[in-house]
Symmetry: C2
Subunit: 351 residues, 2 copies
Amino acid sequence: MKKHRRIILAHGSGGKLSHDLIKEVFLKHFANPTLNKLDDAAVVSLSSIAHRLLQGEEASDKVRFAFTTDSYVVSPLFFPGGDIGKLSVCGTVNDLSMMGAKPLFLSASFIIEEGFQISELERILSSMRKAAEEAKVTIIAGDTKVVDKGSADGMFISTTGVGFIPGGVEISGSNARPGDKVIVSGTIGDHGIAILSQREGLRFSIRLRSDCAPLNELVEDMLEASKEIHCLRDPTRGGIASALNEIATKSNVGIRIYEEAIPIHDAVRAACEMLGLDPFHLANEGKLVAIVGHSDAEKILEKMRGNRYGVDAAVIGEVVEEHKGRVVLKTIFGASRLLDMLVGDLLPRIC
Amino acid sequence: MKKHRRIILAHGSGGKLSHDLIKEVFLKHFANPTLNKLDDAAVVSLSSIAHRLLQGEEASDKVRFAFTTDSYVVSPLFFPGGDIGKLSVCGTVNDLSMMGAKPLFLSASFIIEEGFQISELERILSSMRKAAEEAKVTIIAGDTKVVDKGSADGMFISTTGVGFIPGGVEISGSNARPGDKVIVSGTIGDHGIAILSQREGLRFSIRLRSDCAPLNELVEDMLEASKEIHCLRDPTRGGIASALNEIATKSNVGIRIYEEAIPIHDAVRAACEMLGLDPFHLANEGKLVAIVGHSDAEKILEKMRGNRYGVDAAVIGEVVEEHKGRVVLKTIFGASRLLDMLVGDLLPRIC
């Protein structure tokens, strides 16, 4: 194709330039036999799924699929530790993982503002490819729309994922039981502060990076250690406070967590104090919160710490009979305070 | 929740207002047992799929799934014959149908501009629900992001669909063979002209409506008449010219079509003449182009005409050995002209 350096409206026309863009830019990064067909829908056979994942298990009534979608509107598009492309793959992989599913396929749909630099598009596609490779997931369907200058802010990406849930895995936000332990996989608030500092041009003595990462292998490791994993949540928008409140409500239990047990970078703590933010409401993109049977908690924790995305994992609290539907934080000073769901918006366009 | 009349940024925060919006607005329209769980991913068992669709067929190696995604950025959001909601369901249902798949599930992801009227959101959700009901497809996963005023134009929707392809169905853009007949399911260009007239405030003596419709039942009817359906395409962006060019290229055949055989509303023809547009490049959202075995063409056509979305169906041409990879139009005056893929952009944000 005539080499364009920027996206023009005709790249979204469905005609020749759309085809050129798909073949010469998108397929350069995402080529695979299923996507390359460029039919109206990608076709996958159950036997190809079985070949990849079931490993001898019969395709039976026990076979369940997980299905999830997210749009990504993060601003800025590039930030320390990632970009919108990496985020759009990791976020959807993580939503599948939070159901105990092994991610199989993704679709990716792009809304691009006229005038967008093709070199930046390629950077984003390249980091999507890397994240997909790490998560061992294939992008098999896609779409691109171009809108006129001023009708979108650079680029938005929507990804949808299909995953396979192995037999015996029963994870849901409503499965928490009194006595269960609450685990967080690492430091909280890194993504929120990384975006904020990039957006507002803040500088801290320690450079903060987003924790954006695919967590499917961490979840696989955990499930290998024990099937007593009752709930999993990735605390993105709304932070661990919102994730834990959701679980408390759905399971109709109380949750008690201990401030001193919660891993947090000094720089995030300092930024929160300076800016008056609550780290429990800050977004994370490479962390999970797990509610697990108390007798297996140590075994699960040990396994998590052996994974690169779980080295700072810690038990931070427990599920209790009292204050059903509520999350209570025991502060370092011994006081108790109610940890509410985020009300209002802390940081728009965090993911 | 406190009754909001407009979307505010906190509706996208992941916190309390997000939850209220989902429960009180989205679930009002889309409630179903799978979606209601509001977990990170929707879970469906193969047996529930079998129960719905396989009707006794074994879940075997022959089971194939179709997977497709699209973003919708149409402007204006409401137009004669539909709106962005109806379009986002029909478009994805149709992409699945074009592979011969029966649509099973959809996900829907919304990017909404701050300040958007909740009453308009509800109108859009309501028409999504109606379209989904007509297509017998369930929306089981979703996401909502809110961006600050000026960062998006009202609303964009991304839908992703999963469908089931019955055994014996082999439809692909590369299956056209010389001798095959080319069928179009009805009048061309209605959607393109309806959007254009709404956008530009043009008035014609006859009111033009978009043809936006779910075509899965039409395709089921066709497959009931014959399995000799080789290619199906919904000629959206880029029109029937781009759809036929894609098929000619993929199948490495020539395609010849006859102008006089192509159904077109007088008003669309008049608008095209007035505005210098080529109806073959105009978008359709409720039409399909089919390449079928010549001996079954009449049988398929008859069946199509019995469906409300196929009453004007017509054989418009044939697949030929000559001019491989190219589409030739025989004009009403007997001349031949090459029908090219759309170059440049005719109408941005047509879908």
